[in-house]
Symmetry: C5
Subunit: 363 residues, 5 copies
């Protein structure tokens, strides 16, 4: 039954879920396991033409570098050797190389003289909308190139951008240069935040409706599970805001004023995302209060019923005791209807008690 899913700890609450939140290592890349597969794609484009190449070998990248066209190299699936090679070829600073290969790194922006490095997380729900995944994405903007590194080859946030790049009818992306492509890629990531947040929002709503409508309680563990998911959202989105803000504030010549206007727009979006996260926090607080309230109501109702039954039967026991005494002279004892009368009193007293208690609002 659907309702029961909230109660099944085993399905929802996986302790390993907390791992990415509580363990991190920003430099020592011993934790980074090489991806099994890696896909390298190169886009070479100018205003009039777009060419796409799938590379087998990371070493081939460098030959596209020397062209006077804009290039975008996208690496899906991180292998230590690949990252090192490409960083060497494009003169990327050693520290950036370390950041790309780090695990659990905080979203951030590093501004260098001749390139911009930005590390963000892509957030997405799996097919069943149960588990929120995050994937570390590194984006580097140079003079006339953009490099992007994705952790896993399976998911892809950049399809939208790729389609737009190939479409030569709307040339905005092709005309504006690499900085605009860089903007478009970050925009794609931020747009995905809203999709993930929407699903999360629905989960909160669903749980709330579940409590209010079905008058059932959901397990504390499920609430904690949602709280952790929210923490994951917050830990990805808040530093992303700072990262994007510091791109906006850069005085690099890599960005044209036109692109800067668009970057400001992303900043507005990420600001809105943080506000959404705050809304979810309120929603979570509501949920917890509702849950506590519901749990207390149920518990107290049970106890009250037990106490009431016990209490209502007590007078009957006393009357039974009275006429069970062995005194030689007890009134009514030899009356014909004595027994029926006493039993009637046993019934009437509780009824009278119920009447009085109800009137006083004690039930």
């Amino acid at each position: 039954m659907d309702n029961n899913r909230y109660f099944s700890l085993n399905k929802f609450f996986k302790p390993q879920k907390t791992r990415p939140l509580l363990h991190v290592n920003p430099t020592d890349n011993a934790l980074r396991v090489d991806a099994e597969k890696s896909v390298i794609t190169v886009f070479q484009y100018d205003e009039n033409s777009v060419e796409e190449f799938k590379l087998d070998n990371i070493g081939e990248c460098v030959k596209y570098k020397t062209t006077d066209k804009n290039i975008w190299i996208n690496v899906e699936g991180l292998k230590r050797a690949d990252v090192k090679a490409i960083c060497r070829d494009f003169d990327i600073h050693l520290l950036i190389e370390e950041d790309i290969l780090s695990v659990g790194q905080r979203p951030k922006t590093d501004l260098f003289e001749d390139f911009v490095f930005c590390l963000l997380y892509m957030l997405s729900y799996g097919q069943d909308n149960v588990l929120l995944n995050k994937e570390q994405i590194s984006l580097i903007l140079g003079k006339n190139f953009v490099l992007t590194f994705q952790e896993e080859p399976n998911r892809d946030a950049f399809d939208k951008v790729r389609l737009r790049l190939k479409n030569l009818h709307n040339k905005q992306l092709q005309q504006y240069g690499c900085d605009f492509l860089y903007y478009a890629l970050i925009d794609a990531i931020v747009d995905d935040y809203f999709i993930a947040m929407d699903i999360f929002g629905e989960k909160i709503e669903e749980a709330e409706e579940h409590i209010v409508k079905a008058h059932s309680k959901i397990s504390m563990s499920y609430i904690l599970f949602l709280r952790k998911e929210l923490l994951l959202l917050r830990r990805s989105i808040y530093p992303a805001r700072d990262a994007i803000s510091s791109i906006n504030k850069n005085e690099n010549e890599l960005f044209s004023s036109k692109t800067l206007r668009y970057l400001k727009d992303i900043y507005d979006h990420i600001l809105q995302a943080t506000e959404m996260v705050e809304n979810y926090r309120e929603g979570m607080a509501n949920l917890q209060d509702l849950h506590l309230n519901q749990a207390n109501l149920k518990m107290n109702e049970s106890m009250k019923i037990m106490a009431i039954v016990t209490c209502l039967l007590a007078p009957a026991a006393v009357i039974g005791g009275i006429f069970g005494m062995n005194f030689s002279q007890i009134p009514f004892l030899h009356d014909h209807y004595g027994f029926y009368f006493s039993v009637a009193v046993m019934l009437l007293i509780p009824l009278w008690m119920i009447y009085v208690f109800k009137k006083r609002g004690w039930f």
Copy 2:
């Protein structure tokens, strides 16, 4: 009965109410459904004359643009095609166009070189004061024009301004130029916040009186409902403060120093609105404490009564048991008044217990 309305979940607590808070999409305007009807009004005015036109066709707007008079175009009911057309005619940036058509956007101000864009929410209660509605309003100030976009044609926040504009006796609005009209429109929106907040404040008071006077509890769901309404107020008013603040800080030449003095006044009002919201938060906290207190008092009173009755009857049961034993020699058993005496003791012990317990304050 009036009191019962707090208990009827179905009437007050509508889960879809949470939707506008938990779902948002700042760019993808797929969610934006075109309004069924749209009303376009153009005001053309200078110091001496005011003319009002109702347009059937959005294309006609452009012909009013070339005049040397001030114009105000008000669009009620958003249609994608209309917005695109008017933005093209008035050279509005693409990003602004997207913002106007977005859903659930955060209130904000964008300062461009030759125009100012401001997005706010109008807040109003429906006829029965039950549901708080918000309507997204976009205001653009250009050289000698003001464009305003309202989501729905039914409600109208700008009637007050319209009347003032048509009234040629007090010419302040007509003399001061478009920037002052822009101020007057924002002022109208902010004034409506206070009306909405007043109704909300009355709801809190009513709920509080209900608890304190009638000694009844209101449902947790109703409190959560109020909390969400408060969240809606906060999420509309706080960013509006920032938006208005950044209009104030602009160094645009669109605003005369006279108008800036008035804009500062709106800022004071919106600051006051945020403070009111904080008051409501305190009021909500009080309400919740009162509710919890009341619920506990009621629960505990019931349990105590049950425990007291059970406890008071226990001695009688014991006495009944004593004289019900089958020992061959039991004192008083053959006394004439033995039975009456024992029953009297059964009554006197609880009375004595009541006396002792009352004295010690255990009741």
Copy 3:
């Protein structure tokens, strides 16, 4: 009885008390009802002479304006027509006029080129120290005049200043010009805050002593009442701090450097007032914890006593039941002292239970 006053809701908890906190209207002065009576006083003074005039007619004010002496016009009791007339005569900006006539306005300072406007609240307790009143006071400093507007003619915060002004022995006030008078008036208002806060502090202490000493609980409603009073203090004092701070930061030539040193002193005082308010918040938190603790203790004590009595009598009931069974062969049944022995056991078991429970700390 004195103790009972905390329990009588009707006396202390007046829902209309929340009105000034939850309802406000910064512009629309429809809510402002003209005072029935208004008292207008003009002080005309220089270093050597002080003259006081009571005016019947607001129109007479203007004739004192032209003098080369300093003047202070104090209006007690606001009438719309009066305020409008005086503002016209002294060239006060329209927005200030609106602020003076507004209801529930937030304390604030507006710096104009040739005058300074400051709106503050005077706080005072009524005669029985039960209700905290606030009165809106507007103060305007011009070239050589000070205008003050008080809402009600009955209370007067400025008596102290008036006495000092009339006293020509200590000429500080007369020598330093209008800015120093302005300082002295604000100082008088801020000094009154400390008096009001002192009374409030005593209320908290009293309630605390009441709980700790008399071991009685005070009603939740009374605590909420104090919480609202504290909110009123906060909402008056915190913005007053900002208002005074912005006078301090003004670069107006209206203030001499000597007076600025004194203004800084007021700022220190208002800072201290805000700190006091924070102390009261802690005090309130303590009070609530104590109250909750006491309420729980009392409740639990009752329940425990009931449970103990019920529990102690249970063995006796069982023994009574045992010897009340109708088996043909029951030991001791025909013993001479069987009955006495069984009753003794009924008494001894509870005594033994009391001993054991006490030893284990279960009572």
Copy 4:
């Protein structure tokens, strides 16, 4: 018994303890009662000589002022007339005079052109470490003089400095001028904070050990008492940090760069003091949680025991009732061991219940 001390309200919880926190008056020195005794000491020193004078009469101070040596005048025990006299003699601003004589003033620094005024609190525990005392100390640094005012003549924070000043072997204090003496005096006060905080820290630890080890609960009142003491610490130390910070930021020529380096060191200390205070707040929160937990555990344990006993005896009562019924045909009634069998069942059922309940973890 030692353990009981936490329960004796009368000894620890003195409502007048809250007075210094909740009552304050920054200007009106009506509350300031002249000290009964006052001790005035003058130190006159340069690099090579130190002379100490005990004055009988405040008027004599002025004759030490004209020397070209550094002087330090220390007044222990405040008398209104003395303060006024000395302030007149040394040209101290009227507002400073008021501050010295004020009661419950907030720690602060005032920077004047030719002198620096600093007001701090000395914190110390009485002999039995029970009550935390605070004493207001005012320090004024002028061209070549330092004036210090202590509220009470009995306690003295400056002994350490006095000894160092008299000791001509280590001439640091004598060589560096008045500003270094000023530093040394403030340093002495701040050092005392750590001693007071250490004692407070021990009290928290003691209370915590008391709860954890002895499994006893300490009274809520004692916790509130500690909370108030902590508030006193906070209210003295936090503003002291600001006061010292603003000395550091001063651009006065009174301080040499050498002394400024030392002042920065005091600032580090006071920063550490504020951090300690934060630690204590966490410690207090822990204490309260522990206390609540312990109180709940105890309460619940009692209730559970009572409920268990009542519950275990219920089956026996039922069995007694069964065989006490007067049916003419009841099995076992005439068996030889019927009685013993039934009593055995009465015993066995509770034992079985205990076994089941224990297994299920219900006990």
Copy 5:
């Protein structure tokens, strides 16, 4: 049994654990006890050669100072005399000397004209991962020397750096000068934070799994113990962030721009560490909520079972009482199956009650 370890107070909760958090003394080094053993190591290196010396006598240090090579002197185990000697030899300011010898000092950075002083804590868990240790480490960077002071000779955070220094294949450390060595040392300390935090994170997870999976509760004391450990982490890491930030902001010529880029990287790491700490705080809050929830569930379950049993048996007692009455005419009393019938009713009523209660969800 493993599960029981959470319940054994004596093993985990050691009150002396709180001592380092609640007691501190920033100047008076009376608390500093000289280490029993101290190990002094000198590294003398330039681009081409590295020499290591173990010194017996602190006085020998000075002879390495005069060389034109870079030197690093590492002192493990603090002795007052040693510190004083070395500070004299290298012209370290008196206040720094005091800081090195202080106890419980707050992490901080002091920038002098010709050297940089940084005090940090090394955090590490003991062998059994039970107790978190902190060790105060002072690092001084001068023109061409680095001095480091470690409290204890046993643990060593700098092994990694030492190995790197001796390794002449990768000459980065040797080429870049003393400032880069300084960076490498701080980096080593910060890296250790992540190891300690990882262990702490595992403890939280373990406790959480313990509650959720085993459905058992862990003791409040253990949670408090974790809270204190977290406090220790926070109090070490937060000020370390400020310390490192202020190295970054220094305008000293001691750091080359190359090293500054690396210092910024440490800053990113420490920022991430603070974020981790915030995650742990959330984790702790979750843990406490879970614990409370679990404890309540268990308690309430017990009470409910007792109440249910008592309640279910009450009707049987009443029926027993009814047929135990001594009326002369009681129906069924002489029926053959009267007894069996009544006992059957005694059984059926509870069964019927169980059915009803279950259906209504009261169980």
